[in-house]
């Protein structure tokens, strides 16, 4: 009898921690492209998020509970992201959704978040449509600056080049490129009425041969170019444009707002990088002078965590997305989505690149863009951003 009770006691005791742990984790569904061309960025974003989760859990979690990240491959497809979001909510009982990379996935997942009244934070989707008044709802939040800011900050860079009169644009032919170019053209026409838009090229996303577009653009003899080609496409574009004398013809007067100022593209291009152009980045990663201490420490931890020689400029977005959510949970004192959604409005949180605040009306943070000239630096075998300058959203919002 005694023995029986003892065994029962052990059995019961052994059950408790397991059950408690399972109920205790805060589950975060994280759909992100992990295959196909978009995985170039999806993977580093997820690694950033994983590192944030492990750091938060190591320091005791949130509200005394550990975080659990449920990562899924969205394949950069809106349909797949929606299917995964539904599955994560219904089958895995996630408390929150964070993730999606592209401007196709995020607005689609946003509708699922609205339906299920569950907080959804999009780290990198840039289309203005995501948080436009018609699509805004209490549960959607966005970290990255939108296409308006991309286009307008690029316009501010080019507007500063006083002798430039003839400007051309080249951008991928879908929502992201089209929206950014529209914002660019509107802004530069106001800032510099003397500037003429002489040519606009629209290669498709994943274009393998840019030569015809490059030739056609050079024939219009622009003095400067606003470019929104990014990622692997930018690598291809730069490799084909260089030998055609494109960058020489415009005196390297290009502003690319497609985040090609980070290590990702610089590393891939090596000495084929068109030194002298200007670009932006979420995080310049390599910061030759005046690097903030918090950023330096973050990059060191990231390199140790991913075991990579050079970190990616996109990891910051995954990392910050988890901290945005957990600060919201802390402020709400609960994992109830209604409470967390309210707590996120106007919330400020720290990131390795400075403090960010969610706007109460737009549900977007005030994140700006780092801009700088891409130069050769003898300490690195690739281009780095010279004196990264943080252009805050302030002057560029509506």
């Amino acid at each position: 009898m005694k023995m029986q009770r003892l065994l029962l006691g052990i059995f019961a005791a052994s059950l408790v921690p397991a059950a408690a742990a399972a109920a205790d984790t805060i589950k975060i569904g994280y759909p992100m492209p992990l295959s196909g061309p978009a995985s170039v960025y999806g993977v580093p974003v997820v690694k950033g998020a994983e590192m944030a989760v492990s750091e938060i859990n190591a320091s005791g979690g949130v509200l005394g509970r550990k975080l659990e990240l449920l990562t899924r491959d969205s394949k950069a497809s809106a349909d797949e992201a929606v299917r995964l979001a539904r599955e994560l909510i219904i089958k895995d009982n996630v408390d929150f959704l964070v993730g999606t990379l592209t401007s196709a996935e995020a607005p689609a997942v946003s509708t699922i978040a609205k339906e299920n009244k569950i907080v959804f934070i999009a780290p990198t989707s840039k289309t203005v449509q995501l948080t436009s008044p018609a699509n805004l709802h209490p549960y959607i939040f966005r970290l990255a600056s939108n296409t308006d800011i991309d286009g307008r900050t690029g316009a501010a860079i080019i507007a500063g080049w006083k002798d430039v009169k003839r400007v051309a644009t080249i951008a991928p032919d879908y929502a992201y490129g089209r929206d950014a170019v529209t914002a660019f053209v509107d802004y530069i026409k106001k800032a510099r009425p003397d500037i003429e838009i002489v040519d606009q090229q629209w290669p498709k996303l994943g274009q393998s041969d840019f030569t015809p577009f490059i030739n056609a653009q050079m024939a219009k003899k622009p003095d400067a170019v606003f470019c929104d080609v990014y990622g692997g496409d930018f690598v291809t574009f730069a490799k084909q444009a260089g030998p055609l004398g494109y960058f020489k013809a415009i005196n390297n007067r290009m502003a690319d707002s497609g985040e090609v100022g980070a290590t990702d593209e610089a590393l891939a291009l090596g000495n084929d990088y068109p030194y002298g152009i200007w670009s932006d980045a979420y995080d310049p990663v390599i910061w030759p002078e005046n690097e903030p201490a918090a950023h330096k420490a973050f990059i060191e931890r990231l390199k140790a965590y991913t075991k990579e020689k050079y970190a990616s400029g996109w990891a910051i977005m995954g990392y910050a997305s988890i901290f945005a959510l957990t600060e919201g949970i802390k402020k709400a004192g609960s994992t109830n989505s209604d409470k967390v959604a309210k707590a996120l409005l106007g919330l400020s949180f720290d990131t390795p690149i400075g403090k960010l605040t969610f706007n109460e009306k737009t549900h977007e943070t005030d994140m700006g863009e780092f801009w700088g000239q891409m130069v050769k630096d003898d300490r690195y075998p690739f281009a780095v951003m010279k004196n990264p300058k943080y252009l805050s959203q302030g002057p560029y919002t509506n």
Partner: protein
């Protein structure tokens, strides 16, 4: 309205596009023409060729001519892979319905895509131009990068070599016979199995070579396999399925339509090419140089 030098530059650009596509599509066309296999995995062979070339360049890097050795190694590596796939997998489905071929080669696309991701990760990679082809020169006022000229010459060389082997050599006679009546050729004592393996190896070699040669002017990223197979199919359909010269002229037409199409309709770069394919499919469903299927 346009300067001559510019139009010529646009023509050269279109020709570069064309010869690249021909390098890729020639193998696809060859395998379909003789073996009647639509190889969806051809784009994956192309991608593996690119990754292998990158890998070989990393290993050989400081050595002179490392790019050329890497390109050759990549092409041979992919040829070996193609040979294994033909012997172990494709061989079993020749007599079956085409649906089985599509399923098998599509499965290979997924498997090879994931394998590449596991081995080389998801970062974009690229290879520098070989130093001897790094520059460019002026032709009639247009700039022609030396590497692009090299690609054009390679494309023409492969077209001529392919034509010579197919029409002027004993092996070519066998290949043409196999395309017409495989069983009769077998009954006459020819080793059709070995012939098919040889064809598939040659096609894979071309895919691997084009993958390696593309690395100096394109980024190597996951998904480049699917991107390229669509373009290669368009070229093969325009030229006529299974026609070697059809594929050549299909590539040339594709390149020029893309090049000059964006001058007429700048906002619709893809439209012109797909419109061309649609028109050809309506007027001549068997393509410009193909023969109607019996």
């Amino acid at each position: 309205m346009f300067e001559v030098s510019f139009l010529f530059g646009q023509f050269l650009g279109g020709l570069t596009t064309a010869m690249f596509l021909f390098l890729i599509a020639s193998g696809l066309s060859l395998v379909f023409g003789v073996m009647r296999v639509l190889n969806f995995a051809h784009g994956s062979f192309f991608m593996i060729g690119a990754y292998l070339a990158w890998q070989a360049v990393q290993w050989l890097a400081p050595a002179l001519h490392s790019f050329w050795l890497a390109a050759l190694a990549a092409a041979l590596g992919v040829a070996l892979l193609g040979g294994l796939i033909e012997r172990l997998l494709l061989r079993h489905i020749y007599g079956r319905e085409e649906l089985y071929q599509l399923l098998l080669t599509y499965a290979l696309v997924l498997i090879l895509g994931d394998a590449a991701k596991i081995i080389w990760g998801t970062q974009q990679l690229s290879v520098s131009r070989p130093p001897m082809l790094a520059g460019g020169f002026q032709v009639l006022g247009a700039t022609l990068p030396t590497y692009n000229l090299f690609i054009m010459l390679t494309g023409v060389a492969i077209a001529v070599a392919g034509w010579f082997v197919l029409t002027r050599s004993p092996a070519g006679r066998m290949v043409r016979a196999a395309a017409l009546d495989r069983e009769m050729l077998g009954a006459l004592g020819a080793n059709v199995g070995a012939l098919y393996t040889g064809m598939f190896v040659a096609s894979s070699f071309l895919a691997g070579l084009s993958g390696a040669l593309v690395t100096p002017i394109q980024s190597i990223v996951p998904g480049m396999d699917v991107e390229v197979i669509v373009e290669a199919f368009i070229v093969v359909v325009i030229g006529g399925l299974g026609s070697f010269w059809g594929t050549f002229w299909g590539s040339v037409i594709y390149g020029q339509v893309l090049s000059f199409g964006i001058l007429i309709l700048p906002g619709f770069s893809l439209f012109s090419v797909f419109a061309l394919m649609a028109v050809i499919l309506i007027v001549r469903p068997w393509g410009l140089f193909g023969r109607p299927l019996r």
